[in-house]
């Protein structure tokens, strides 16, 4: 039987760097984009693949893949279709920035096979958007979402952010409501994190960030608000209408294999954790030399994989199936980590339901304190 594989393609170009972002991305440059996309295709062609895997999802992330010129997009995806066995029900997501969404783009995406758009909304408060360095207004998010729904697909996911400088509970609830009004099928929501070398981190003294207590309240409020509108929380930061959970990410959280292509992409493939060269120049150089973009590759042990599986599996609301875990590793999770698990069961941070071990609601926002005891 074919094993399931998730495919990720990275496109590290953006119109302008956002104030909170520390991903590797550079300003759009037509010439470099062409070189990069050719490189990406070279990596696809040379990727060692036999028909032992079935690709169940494609995810085009970035950066801003909504900037990819149509001809580059088509030729790259065509190559993928030629090379890989694609599942008939494939989920094909493209990350879009509202400022890039136009009727023609939406049309092109549809033609290419994109059936899910993940759009970075972040906030529906214009003041907050400008603090984040986003180039769009709140109205533009709505306009973009409607175009996509009309022309490309109905399956839209919106990204939202809390913990933004100056954000109040009121403005957060307002953003949530406006997002819900656009009736996306899925919402991802992150707490703003000050990453090193970002504009916000370097100017943090000038801003007024919500404190941890408020962030915590925003988090739990969001869960209950979304719940009311039938967005089910299925992961720490992800919510979806029934049957609209992100299949790509769920596959990864379940410990499935994935291949990332392009600069700075990561893979977990055949028990190896692989990282590609992160800047475009060294990625392209590496390709020239070896026909792949690999920077580092490390085989992981079953033991390590097991811990990763716990670390990722507990992120999911459904938790970890104890019988399945036993079948896979020959180890009883409750024996192996008896001491920790019992302590957390007792303190009501973990619970077992239907033979599945999972976080309780109050554990979610301090989940690292719990996970670190399994390492």
């Amino acid at each position: 039987m074919q094993k399931k594989l998730a495919l990720y393609l990275h496109f590290p170009f953006c119109t302008k760097k956002c104030n909170y972002c520390n991903f590797y991305s550079i300003p759009y440059d037509a010439d470099l984009v062409h070189k990069y996309c050719s490189g990406l295709r070279q990596e696809i062609i040379n990727f060692p693949y036999k028909n032992d895997y079935k690709v169940i999802t494609i995810y085009l992330g970035g950066g801003s893949p909504s900037l990819i010129p149509f001809h580059e997009l088509v030729s790259t995806i065509n190559l993928i279709r030629e090379k890989f066995y694609l599942d008939k029900e494939i989920e094909f997501t493209l990350e879009a920035n509202p400022i890039h969404v136009s009727e023609s783009k939406a049309e092109n995406w549809r033609i290419t096979g994109v059936n899910r758009i993940s759009m970075g909304a972040q906030s529906f408060n214009d003041g907050e958007l400008s603090k984040l360095g986003r180039l769009h207004s709140s109205t533009e998010i709505g306009i973009a979402a409607n175009k996509i729904k009309e022309i490309c697909c109905n399956n839209i996911s919106l990204d939202l952010m809390y913990g933004i400088p100056g954000q109040t509970m009121k403005s957060w609830l307002n953003s949530l409501q406006k997002a819900i009004k656009l009736s996306p099928k899925h919402i991802s929501s992150y707490c703003l994190k000050l990453e090193k070398e970002t504009f916000l981190a370097e100017n943090k003294a000038k801003y007024n960030f919500p404190d941890e207590e408020l962030e915590r309240k925003m988090y739990y409020k969001m869960i209950s608000e979304l719940q009311k509108k039938d967005y089910e929380q299925y992961e720490i930061s992800n919510f979806g209408k029934k049957s609209y959970y992100s299949r790509h990410n769920t596959h990864i959280w379940e410990g499935g294999e994935y291949v990332g292509l392009g600069a700075a992409a990561h893979s977990f493939y055949k028990m190896q954790r692989i990282r590609n060269k992160s800047d475009i120049k060294s990625y392209l150089n590496k390709l020239k030399e070896t026909n792949n973009g690999i920077d580092k590759k490390r085989k992981i042990s079953t033991q390590e994989f097991m811990v990763d599986k716990i670390m990722l599996g507990l992120r999911l609301n459904k938790g970890i199936s104890l019988p399945k875990f036993h079948a896979e590793f020959g180890i009883d999770l409750l024996d192996k980590f008896g001491e920790q698990i019992n302590k957390f069961l007792k303190n009501n941070y973990l619970t077992i339901e239907d033979e599945r071990l999972k976080f309780t609601s109050k554990a979610l926002f301090i989940s690292n304190s719990i996970l670190s005891e399994f390492i």
Partner: protein, 597 residues
């Protein structure tokens, strides 16, 4: 070598006044080493080189021709820090002369004075030397008058040098030959003073001796005066840059003997070596062995390292007889050792060497002094670990160690010093004007009050001008009490401390605040209390951790996330758990960081 051609000398100076640098110049001038070969050649330990301080005296023999005669000059470099001042007295007892080395930009420091007095008591010839005359800040004239005042000597006999630039070194070397008298022998029977004894894993104990009378050679049966035990000499030699075996050691010589001694304890520093067949009836005076003043619990960070720690301590003690230790247990820290040290620097260096040379990570408890506890039943108990203090109901009274302290300071700062002394329960005994630039104030201080940050405070209230020396005075009754620390309602035995009644509240307040900063947040809020018996006198609360989540975790984040969790986990491993609270290493030293002014 005829003993008339031997000169044995040491250098007395304050820390950083330039002894090691001057020694380097001597070594170059006598071609013992070639110029630029190495710096601070007598400081062997990595730690000494790095910190630029001398911890352990290391003797060296130099050959020098002067007016057509070959001379042997034996120099014993000495440490400058008060913790190691017993090393100075060892060298003084083995020499006929001493260079008094003063940094021209600093002047005479309190500690130098006390060492000078020891040398004078031993009738050493003193050659005063002003160093660092190349510095812009050098105050040669002033230093000169200080020395004259101190020693009552005519000014012409003071040497002015720059050890760093090599100025006037040759003249000084010749002065050593001219001014310091050669060794003299007063009796026939052999007598040699042990001034150091060092364990070597291949050769056994290497005994450093100064021969006062007679001689020692291979095959001789020797006897240690204090124990009467006999050994046979296997080897004798001098101290070059390396050890140089030689046929015999004669009157006046400084060198080593190896005699199948297996433990440093058997060849005690200060003991006299004589010949078994014709032993001396009068051993050399020797000198007092230093007594530990500061005690600390030393525990392996990783409990599995207990045996390694025990072995390391045993090895350590082979060469550092001033270190004492015995097993101790703590409810929170587990199995470890109570160790006694000469002072805080000794303790610090010990800890650093344990980590460096033995690769051992340790937790140490806040240093304590040794209290004398008089019980109601008439018995007396020595307590060096506050958690062992008997129940207050059993105690009649407690005595604490008091130090004699000498503070040298420019008259302008007398007021500040008095204020500081008052804060630290000092009793002024005497105030003496040395000259217009300096007064000497004699205080009695409880050791407890000068243990931690006294020196820094002293420097800061005197803009760096004050200097300080101390020695043990005796015990004195005092109103002391024990304060316990409770974390999450559980007493942490290793954090108890003993403090003067009047300061109990301030210390308690400050420590609970400090612990709040050091102990990480937990999933629940953690009360920290300081209690005098059952009564809580200060408290603080560590708020519960409310957020510890990786919101975003996709394909590329997994390794990163794992590393983060590993870091959190490693952090925990370096902690001790009590009442479900993880306490980091530094927390046990919180008492040190408390503001006690």
């Amino acid at each position: 070598m005829n003993k008339d051609n031997i000169r044995n000398f040491c250098i007395i100076a304050h820390i950083d006044h330039g002894k090691s640098t001057l020694a380097d110049r001597f070594l170059e001038l006598t071609h013992t080493i070639e110029k630029g070969e190495m710096e601070q050649i007598l400081d062997d330990m990595d730690l000494e080189r790095e910190r630029g301080i001398t911890i352990k005296a290391h003797p060296i023999r130099m050959e020098y021709e002067y007016q057509d005669r070959e001379y042997i000059l034996n120099l014993i470099d000495t440490p400058g820090h008060v913790d190691f001042s017993y090393e100075v007295s060892r060298s003084i007892a083995s020499c006929e002369g001493a260079l008094l080395l003063i940094d021209a930009s600093q002047g005479i420091e309190a500690q130098t004075m006390s060492n000078l007095y020891i040398a004078m008591e031993h009738n050493l010839e003193i050659i005063p030397v002003i160093n660092k005359i190349d510095l812009k800040a050098a105050e040669v004239e002033r230093t000169r008058s200080e020395i004259i005042e101190l020693m009552g000597i005519p000014s012409a006999e003071i040497y002015e040098i720059s050890a760093k630039m090599g100025t006037n070194i040759e003249g000084l070397l010749q002065a050593i030959i001219k001014d310091i008298s050669p060794p003299i022998s007063v009796q026939e029977q052999t007598r040699a003073l042990i001034f150091d004894s060092i364990y070597n894993q291949y050769r056994g104990v290497i005994i450093h001796v100064r021969i006062f009378d007679g001689e020692l050679k291979r095959g001789d049966k020797i006897q240690f005066c204090s124990t009467g035990k006999n050994f046979e000499i296997e080897d004798t030699g001098h101290f070059g840059i390396e050890m140089q075996p030689c046929e015999k050691l004669s009157t006046g010589d400084v060198g080593y003997i190896i005699a199948g001694v297996k433990e440093v304890r058997q060849a005690k520093v200060g003991d006299t070596v004589t010949l078994a067949k014709n032993p001396t009836k009068t051993p050399l005076p020797g000198f007092k062995n230093p007594k530990p003043m500061v005690y600390s619990g030393i525990y392996p960070l990783d409990k599995d390292d207990y045996n390694n720690l025990r072995d390391a301590l045993a090895k350590f003690q082979l060469n550092d007889t001033s270190l004492i230790y015995e097993p101790e247990t703590s409810a929170v820290l587990g199995f470890g050792f109570r160790c006694g040290f000469l002072g805080m620097l000794h303790l610090e260096i010990f800890k650093e060497r344990l980590e460096r040379e033995y690769g051992l990570a340790i937790i140490s408890t806040a240093p304590s002094v040794e209290f004398k506890v008089h019980l109601n039943n008439g018995k007396e108990k020595l307590i060096d670990n506050p958690s062992q203090l008997p129940d207050p109901g059993e105690i009649e009274h407690i005595e604490e160690p008091i130090m004699d302290c000498e503070i040298l300071v420019p008259p302008d700062y007398i007021g500040n010093i008095m204020q500081l002394a008052h804060d630290r329960r000092g009793i002024q005994k005497n105030l003496e004007t040395i000259d217009e630039y300096r007064v000497s104030i004699h205080y009695e201080f409880p050791l407890l009050e000068i243990l931690y940050d006294f020196y820094d405070k002293l420097k800061s209230v005197s803009r760096g001008y004050a200097s300080f020396d101390y020695s043990f005075h005796g015990y004195r009754a005092s109103k002391l009490k024990k304060i316990d620390i409770l974390v999450n309602k559980e007493k942490v035995d290793a954090m108890s401390f003993i403090v003067h009644e009047d300061k109990a509240y301030t210390w308690a307040k400050s420590i609970t605040e400090k612990l709040k900063e050091i102990i990480p947040r937990h999933l629940f809020s953690v009360p920290i209390q300081a209690a005098d018996g059952k009564r809580v006198i200060a408290r603080s609360t560590i708020k519960a951790l409310r957020k510890n989540v990786t919101a975003k975790c996709y394909g590329g984040d997994i390794t990163r996330k794992r590393k983060l969790l590993e870091r959190q986990k490693r952090g925990k491993k370096r902690m001790r758990e009590t009442g479900e609270v993880n306490i980091p290493q530094e927390a046990f030293l919180a008492v040190l960081k408390v503001d006690r002014s």
